[in-house]
Amino acid sequence: MFENLPLWPVRASSGAGNVDALYIFLLALSAFMCAAIFTMILVFATKYRRRRGVEAEQIEGSSALEITWSIIPLGIFMVIFLWGAVIYFHERTPPRGASEVYVVAKQWMWKLQHQEGPREINELHVPVGRDVKLIMTSQDVIHSFYVPAFRIKQDVLPGRYSTAWFRATKPGVYHLFCSQYCGTMHSGMIGQVTVMEPAQYEAWLSGGSTTGSLAASGESLFQQLGCPTCHRSDTQGRGPNLVGVFGKPVQLEDGRTVMADENYIRESILSPSAKIVSGFKPIMPVFQGLVGEEQLNALVAYIKSLSPAPSGAAGKPGSGPTGTRLQNVKE
C-alpha cells in the first residue's frame, strides 16, 4: 500500500516485505505509545494545572503499577526481538544454490564479478527471481554494501569475506550505496542495481565479452601458480586434495574442526600455516601480497566449483544454468 507513496522506499526483493511489515508494526506500536503518553500529559497538564487553593495530592507510588509497566513492555519487546531475529536469521543465511557475485570494494568504487565471468563496476545486473549471494571483501577500509530497495546492508571488511544475499522481485534500477564512511568520496561510492526479466538478463549476459566463468579463470590461475603440483586430485599429493572440500568440515592438525567456507579457503591461501589440515605438513608458501583480491576471488570460486553443487537448488527458478556449469568444471 505504500508502493506509491513518495515517502516510502521501493520494495524490490523477497525480504523487503518482511522488513516493512515489522517496521509498520513498530510504527503502529510507537504511534500508540506516543499517543497514550502525550494524551496523558496533555490531560494532566490541563486538568491539574495550578489553581489557587488546590493542593497537589501526594501519592507515594505503586509497586503493582511499576511491575505492570515493566513486565508488559518487556513482553512486547521480546515479541519484537523474536520477529526481528527471524528476519535477521533469514537475511544472514544465503539459500543453497544461490548464484554468486564476488564484490571487491575499494576507495571509492564497487568492482563486481559474476560467477559466469562478466565484470561490472558500480553496476550490478541481476535477473528477477534468482537468489544472488554476494561474497564481498575490501581492498582498503571498511565499506558497506547497501541496497535500500532490497533492505539489505552488510559491511565489507578488508582481510576477510562477508556475505549477503537477496532475491530481486521487481525489475527496475535501484540505488547501491556505500553506507560505511570510507573517506573523501564516500558519497560518490554509489552505483546501481539493475533488475531484469530473466530473458533480458540472459541476453545481457551473452552480450558482454566472453571472458569465461570466474571458476575457469580461477582454474587457469591455479595452474599458473603451480598449485596442482601438491594439490592433486588423488590422495598422493603433498597438499590436501581439494575436490569436494568446500562446505564440509575439515579436521585440523591441532584437533580442531572448522567449516571449509569462503573465509577458510581465503585464509588457507593467504596464510596457510594458520590452519593446517590433519596429516599434512606446513610447507605451502604464503600468498599474502602475491595474489590480488580479484585473483583470490577467482581461486576461491574455482575451489568451490570442485565441490558438487548442492541439489537443494531445486524449486528456485533461474538458478539452473549456473548449477550445471559448476559441475562441468569439476572433472
Binding site: P6, W8, P9, V19, L22, L26, S30, M33, C34, I37, F38, I41, F44, A45, Y48, R50, V54, E55, A56, E57, Q58, E60, G61, S62, L65, E66, W69, S70, P73, L74, M78, I80, F81, W83, G84, Y88, F89, Q107, D140, V141, I142, Y146, P148, I152, K153, D155, L157, P158, G159, R160, H175, F177, S179, Q180, Y181, G183, M185, H186, S187, I190
Partner: protein, 544 residues
C-alpha cells in the same frame, strides 16, 4: 564575566573574591562549575557552527558549498566536539558540580583540587582539539573506525585522539569525585533513601564514567600508537581485526550515551517534582532504574555492529540484551507522567523543557526499539534514521535537560531571575525547531539515505530542505538563552533563596550560596520531595 553582575552586599561565592586568579585557582565547586559553563558553552557554539554548515551543505543534492574533504571534517568535528567537549561534561560538570555538594549538604566535593585539575585537563584537551581544528582538522567521523583512522586518513588523527584521551581523564576525575562525595560527604540525616533523584542519576553516571572511559582511553591510545609507532593491533594487513576496535570503542561509547542522558533524567526528576508540587511517583523505582541503566548499558554495545560482520549468535545475544535497557528507561517516562496525576502543575520555562524532554525522549527511545531489532537495524543502520534517533536522545533529551536545568537553577547559580517570557519563547523555539530538523530525517533514513553523505540523490532533497530550515529555528532557540542569561546577570530581578518553592537542600541556602554552601551545617530530618511541607510561591515568579 559572572563577577561583574553582582551588586548584593551579602557575601557569597561570587563576590567573595575578585580577579582572574581567584577564578583560575579556585577550588570552590561552584566556581569550577561556572568555569565549565563558560568553556562548554564555547564548544557548544563551535559544534553548532559545524552543524549549521553541514545542514547548509545538505540543502542541495550536489556537493556545492564545501569540498568533500571539508564536509567530512565538518561532521567528524561536529560529532567529536559535541560529544566529548559538550555533552559528556554538560550536565555533570556544570549542574552536577554545582549541585551535588549542595544537595547532599556538603561544603564541597571530596577532592576540590582534583575537581579543578579536571577542568584544567578539559581545557588542555580543548586547546589541543582547537589546535587540531585550526591546523587542518580530522575526518575520521567521531567513531575513529579503523583501518581508515589508522592507515588511510591524512588528517590530524593523532592530535584529535590525544585531545579526547585527555578529555576522558577529565571526565573520569569528575565521576570519581562524585562517587566519593556521595559516599562520604552526605550531611547528617541524609540517608540514601532521602537522596534527591538528581544524586542517584549522577551516581549512576559516575559509575559509567569510571568504568567505561578508561576503555575508550586505551582504545584511542592504541590507534595513536598504530599511527605514530607502527604497532599493528587493529591492522587487517597484519591479521588484525578492525572489528576489535569497534568492540572496544562501543564498550565505552554506548554507555557514553547514558553519561549524556542520565543526568538529563536527573534534572527532569527535580523539575517535574517541583512544578507538579509532588513527590516523584515511585521514587525507589526511578532511583533504581538509573542504576539499572548504568549496568545494563554495558551489556548492549554490539548492537552498533549488527551489520559489521559479528557472528550471528553474538548479534542475537546483544539484541535481546538491548531490550533489557529499554525497560528502566520506560519506567522513568511512566513515572514522570504518573507524577503529574493530581499534581498542581505550573508552566514555567523549566517545566516546558521537561515536557519537551519527555516527548522527545519518548520518541527517541521508541525509535531505539527499531534499532535494537535485528531485522530493522540491517536496513536503517548507518542511515539518517540513526542520525535522527540519537539526536532525539542527545539533543531532544540531553540538551533539553541541560537547558531546563540551567533555567531551573539559574536563580541559585546567579542570584538573578531570567526573563520568563523570553525563556518560554526560547523553549518553544527549541522544541519546534528541533522537530522540524530531525523528524524528516527518520523518513530520509527509512528511504535509505546513508549518513555522512556530502552529496545525495535528488529524491531526498525535499526532506533535507525541511531539516535545514528547522536547524535555523533551532539555532535561534539556542542563542536566545545565552543572550538573556547574560542580560539577567546585570538586569534580572534579584532571586529569592527559593523562588520556585522547591524541595531540596540546595534551596535552603541563600541565592547565590556562600562559599561553604551553608552557614550552618544542615541536618536532614525529612524525606526527599516533601512538597506537602513547603508552601508554594504565591505566583510563578515572572520577570517584570
Amino acid at each position: 564575566m559572572a563577577t561583574a553582575a553582582v551588586v548584593a552586599e551579602r557575601e557569597h561565592y561570587l563576590n567573595k573574591e575578585y580577579g582572574i586568579r581567584s577564578w583560575l585557582l579556585t577550588t570552590d565547586h561552584k566556581r569550577i562549575a561556572l568555569l565549565y559553563l563558560i568553556s562548554i558553552t564555547f564548544f557548544f557554539f563551535v559544534g553548532g557552527f559545524f552543524a549549521l554548515l553541514i545542514r547548509l551543505e545538505l540543502l542541495t543534492p550536489a556537493g556545492d558549498l564545501v569540498q568533500a574533504d571539508t564536509y567530512n571534517k565538518l561532521f567528524s568535528m561536529h560529532g567529536q566536539v559535541m560529544i566529548f567537549f559538550f555533552l559528556i561534561p554538560s550536565i555533570p560538570a556544570v549542574l552536577g558540580n554545582f549541585l551535588v555538594p549542595l544537595m547532599i549538604g556538603a561544603k564541597d566535593l571530596a577532592f576540590p583540587r582534583i575537581n579543578l585539575l579536571s577542568w584544567y585537563l578539559y581545557m588542555i584537551a580543548g586547546l589541543i582539539y582547537i589546535h587540531c581544528i585550526v591546523t587542518g582538522g580530522v575526518d575520521t567521523g567521531w567513531t575513529f573506525y579503523t583501518p581508515f583512522s589508522t592507515a588511510f586518513s591524512n588528517t590530524r588523527v593523532i592530535e584529535a585522539g590525544i585531545a579526547i584521551f585527555v578529555a576522558g581523564f577529565s571526565s573520569i576525575l569528575t565521576g570519581l569525585n562524585f562517587v566519593v562525595t556521595i559516599h562520604r560527604m552526605r550531611a547528617p540525616g541524609m540517608t540514601w533513601s532521602r537522596l534527591p533523584l538528581f544524586i542517584w542519576a549522577h551516581y549512576a553516571t559516575s559509575i559509567i564514567q569510571l568504568l567505561g572511559t578508561p576503555v575508550l582511553a586505551i582504545t584511542l591510545l592504541l590507534v595513536v600508537f598504530e599511527r605514530a609507532f607502527n604497532l599493528g593491533i587493529f591492522d587487517p594487513t597484519r591479521g588484525g581485526d578492525p572489528l576489535l576496535f569497534q568492540h572496544l570503542f562501543w564498550f565505552y561509547s554506548h554507555p557514553a550515551v547514558y553519561i549524556m542522558i542520565l543526568p538529563a533524567m536527573a534534572v527532569e526528576s527535580e523539575v517535574v517534582a517541583c512544578f507538579t508540587r509532588k513527590r516523584i511517583f515511585g521514587y525507589n523505582f526511578v532511583a533504581m532504574s538509573s542504576i539499572a541503566i548504568a549496568v545494563f548499558g554495558f551489556l548492549v554495545w554490539a548492537h552498533h555492529m549488527f551489520v559489521a560482520g559479528i557472528s550471528l549468535y553474538a548479534a542475537l545475544v546483544f539484541s535481546i540484551l538491548s531490550y533489557l535497557v529499554a525497560v528502566p528507561s520506560a519506567i522513568k517516562v511512566f513515572n514522570w507522567t504518573a507524577t503529574m496525576y493530581k499534581g498542581s502543575i505550573s508552566f514555567t520555562t523549566p517545566m516546558l523543557y521537561a515536557f519537551g524532554f519527555i516527548g522527545l525522549f519518548t520518541m527517541g527511545g521508541l525509535t531505539g526499539l527499531f534499532l535494537a531489532c535485528l531485522g530493522i537495524d540491517v536496513h536503517v543502520h548507518d542511515t539518517y534514521f540513526i542520525i535522527a534517533h540519537f539526536h532525539y536522545i542527545m539533543v531532544g533529551g540531553a540538551v533539553m535537560g541541560y537547558l531546563g536545568g540551567l533555567h531551573f537553577w539559574w536563580p541559585k547559580i546567579s542570584g538573578r531571575m531570567y526573563p520568563e517570557a523570553w525563556g518560554r519563547l526560547a523553549a518553544m523555539l527549541v522544541f519546534v525547531g528541533f522537530n522540524l530538523t530531525f523528524f524528516p530525517q527518520f523518513i530520509l533514513g527509512y528511504m535509505g539515505m546513508p549518513r555522512r553523505y556530502w552529496q545525495y540523490p535528488p529524491e531526498f532533497q525535499v526532506l533535507n530542505v525541511l531539516s535545514t530550515a528547522g536547524s535555523t529555528v533551532l539555532a535561534v532557540g539556542y542563542v536566545l538563552p545565552m543572550v538573556y542569561f547574560l542580560w539577567s546577570m546585570r538586569y534580572g530581578k534579584i532571586a529569592e533563596d527559593n523562588p520556585w518553592g522547591a524541595a531540596g537542600l540546595e534551596w535552603k541556602t541563600s541565592s547565590p550560596p556562600p562559599t561553604f554552601n551553608f552557614d550552618e551545617e544542615p541536618e536532614v530530618t525529612w524525606e526527599a520531595y516533601n512538597y506537602e511541607q513547603i508552601p508554594a510561591p504565591a505566583e510563578v515568579p515572572v520577570e517584570r
